[in-house]
Symmetry: C2
Subunit: 104 residues, 2 copies
């Protein structure tokens, strides 16, 4: 669909993409993690898009199996949510993914 | 107001009360913390109350200054959110509050 193409091109054209909700603390946490390590992700706030927000969430669910926020992509690859990203960072596996994606 | 009285009697009649939202990970975290230490809080899911949910959130904001979820009370006293409760637990200050409230 048109919206699926939008998501696919967004995540392939930007090194780090976070689909988020402005009032969600898990979304805030993952955004803060990226900023702490000097990476400026492309952030898409699903609750600021009107009716397209829930539609995008459904598309993300179809494409990744994940309906929840935050939904993180690095180098076009689906990473997961907040806990997944934090775990990768703790294990030292986030940096190599970011470097390969040209995010820093 | 009637709703204010409801909140006041709920938090004074139950040792631990958590105002929560079912889909919020911070709410889930604080509920899991209480269960981990053997305490069964009274949980009120604001997103399952229809129009009363947002009204209750406004009342909680008036009574405690806090609009966000989770909103935690112990022994009738306003504790705060998830990070506040976790901090108290880490400092060993949660247990004494729970004992004084007769929660365990
Ligand atoms: N473990 C996941 C949890 C994600 C999650 O449950 N997100 C919640 C908000 S914090 C959500 O999107 N809830 C919406 C829903 O369940 O419909 C992560 O770390 O991202
Ligand atoms: N530090 C607070 C954060 C609370 C918070 O921001 N809660 C969010 C959901 S995770 C909320 O209620 N957002 C609704 C809003 O901001 O309107 C805590 O630990 O509880
Ligand atoms: S909505 Fe509460 S942590 Fe996401």
């Amino acid at each position: 669909s048109r919206l699926e193409d939008t998501v696919k091109s967004t995540v392939s054209e930007n090194p780090v993409v976070v689909y988020s909700k402005t009032w969600c603390s898990y979304s805030s946490e993952v955004k803060a993690l990226f900023r702490k390590i000097g990476v400026e992700p492309l952030v898409i706030e699903l609750d600021e898009l009107g009716p397209q927000g829930p539609q995008l969430q459904r598309v993300l669910e179809r494409l990744t199996g994940q309906y929840t926020v935050p939904n993180v992509f690095i180098g076009g690859e689906h990473i997961g949510g907040c806990t997944d990203t934090v775990k990768l960072h703790r294990k030292g596996e986030l940096q190599p993914l970011l470097s390969r994606a040209g995010a820093n």
